[in-house]
């Protein structure tokens, strides 16, 4: 017969891992990965808990990697010493942010602050680079997912730019 205390912790840990698995599977960067590959990613991610109003990273900090919200919501804001804080977005559960920092160490363009108590997964560049070296096929799949997201974002930016240009032209012409 199994010890009920042990069973309780086992179930809790399984539930916790299942939720990470589900969350990771919904993130476009990891959507192409097989369950076995997701398990490999699980080994290198960092799970963190943030209190309400606690900063996750600050604008200007060196970029290190991306975060995925498991529970709670996060405010993305520009912080200037003179102008104060300017809210850019509120990200809900399941959303991810800071993904460009997976590519280089450029300073963060905005701050991320927990709106409520948050449960967050961090996936960082040094671990991705290490994974690329140790398991190249998995690393390439993740990079491919990242490239797809950036491509999609670029396409959307181009569309917005072209729309803005047309509107400016229309305004000029009267």
């Amino acid at each position: 017969m199994k010890n009920p205390i042990w069973e309780y912790f086992e179930t809790r840990s399984k539930e916790k891992n299942d939720s990470i698995f589900k969350i990771l599977k919904t993130v476009p960067i990891f959507s192409d990965l097989t369950p076995k590959e997701i398990t490999e990613v699980e080994k290198i991610i960092h799970r963190r808990n943030y209190k309400k109003n606690e900063p996750i990273f600050r604008m200007g900090d060196p970029g290190l990697g991306m975060y995925i919200i498991v529970e709670g919501s996060v405010e993305i804001a520009e912080e200037n010493e003179d102008a104060g804080k300017k809210r850019l977005a509120i990200l809900p559960e399941g959303a991810f942010f800071g993904d460009l920092a997976l590519l280089d160490e450029a300073p963060r363009s905005a701050s991320a602050i927990a709106v409520v108590d948050c449960d967050i997964i961090g996936f960082f560049r040094p671990d991705l680079l290490d994974l690329l070296y140790r398991k190249p096929s998995l690393g390439i799949k993740i990079l491919w997912g990242l490239a797809r997201i950036i491509g999609e974002r670029l396409r959307r930016t181009n569309e917005q730019l072209s729309k803005s240009q047309s509107e400016t032209e229309a305004l000029k012409n009267g």
Binding site: K43, I44, H46, R47, R48, Y50, E54, P55, I56, F57, R58, G60, D61, P62, L64, F124, P126, D127, D130, Y133, R134, K135, P136
Partner: protein
């Protein structure tokens, strides 16, 4: 006045617990240190081995091999290498010691005892005193032998450590990411990104530095062996312990500027003890060989394999080596520059982190 006093009190109160914690921390380290010293040394040695072997294991893993199996394969290969080298080196060391002993006994010691007897005969005419002196000499030799057996007992515990080191190394290579993750999970959110980034940078720089040093030492050792082997072939084996001396030259290469001398001197000593007919000629060739090895190392090997992150001014190197020598003798001199390198990299990265992250 009161305002300043109040500020000072609040500052003292604010920092009181921090200072108390640091004080207790330092006291705990001082109390615990003697008990964990040997374990700490073993872990450091295992960690250095792990850093050196990691690229080979990562490479095998990238080819689809299970990490555990890759580590076992690499460690068996290294073990075979060490055993083979030991088989080549130990007989050479024993031969070298025997040779020195025979030379000393036949020439120097015999001369000393003859001179001693003559002195006693001439000045004291006292065989009793001569016997006393001989007894004292015997006693001190026995004492030395006793010390030697003590050393051998230590060598027993050293051998036990040698058996533990591969075990620790195995897990350090296998679970290094797990250890790092466990370590970083304890860091408060405010310092999380800073610590993670700095830890990665330090570990990256250090592994490159240690791997570079190890590769450089191996190449210098191999080149010295090849050079001395050629001299042996050309001059009828005046430096028969070339493998041992080559190995020594490789290890001594950890000390910049002084290393080549440490390599060349034992080779020259071997020749002087052997006292061949064309001694000066051979000595010259040994000097040329080591100069050539250094030239190849400085021009081609070092710039390629040794990490640039730990560039040191020659004056710094000399001072560090002297301090290392004062602290821990020859071993201290050997490890002074790498230890300083590790400290330098660690401090540089921590300062970089503190400068670049907003810790509000």
């Amino acid at each position: 006045m009161d305002k300043y006093a109040f500020q000072l009190y609040s500052l003292i109160l604010k920092n009181f617990w921090r200072v108390l914690l640091i004080f207790f921390g330092i006291t705990a380290i001082i109390i615990v240190y003697p008990y964990v010293k040997s374990v700490l040394l073993m872990v450091i040695i295992s960690w250095i081995f792990a850093m050196i072997l990691m690229p080979a294991v990562d490479f095998m893993e990238s080819k689809g091999l299970n990490r555990g199996i890759a580590i076992i394969i690499v460690m068996i290969a290294i073990l075979i290498g060490i055993v083979t080298t030991a088989f080549l080196v130990f007989p050479a060391i024993i031969r070298a010691v025997d040779q020195i002993k025979i030379k000393l006994e036949s020439n120097v010691l015999a001369q000393i005892s003859i001179q001693l007897e003559a002195v006693f005969k001439k000045h004291f005419n006292n065989p009793e005193l001569a016997r006393n002196v001989t007894t004292k000499l015997n006693d001190s030799i026995n004492g030395m032998l006793g010390n030697m057996s003590g050393f051998l007992n230590n060598a027993g515990s050293f051998a036990a450590s040698l058996a533990i080191i591969p075990f620790v190394t195995f897990f350090l290579i296998k679970d290094t990411r797990l250890f790092k993750r466990a370590l970083i999970s304890r860091v408060p959110n405010k310092y999380f990104e800073l610590s993670l980034n700095v830890l990665h940078k330090i570990s990256d720089q250090l592994s490159k530095y240690i791997q570079g040093q190890a590769l450089d030492a191996a190449i210098v050792g191999a080149l010295s062996v090849i050079g001395l082997f050629s001299i042996n072939l050309a001059f009828d084996h005046p430096v028969s312990q070339f493998v041992f001396i080559g190995l020594l030259a490789g290890i001594a290469n950890l000390i910049p500027y002084l290393g080549p001398v440490v390599g060349a001197v034992p080779a020259m000593m071997m020749v002087v003890i052997n006292n061949p007919a064309n001694m000066m000629n051979i000595l010259l060739w040994i000097a040329i060989t080591f100069a050539l090895v250094q030239f190849i190392d400085n021009m081609f090997v070092s710039p390629l394999v040794v990490s640039k992150s730990v560039n040191m001014h020659p004056l710094t190197v000399v001072i560090v080596v002297i301090i290392g020598g004062n602290v821990a003798g020859a071993i201290g001199m050997l490890f002074a520059v790498p230890t300083f390198g590790i400290i330098k990299v660690t401090l540089t990265e921590i300062i970089w982190g503190l400068k670049n992250y907003k810790l509000r």
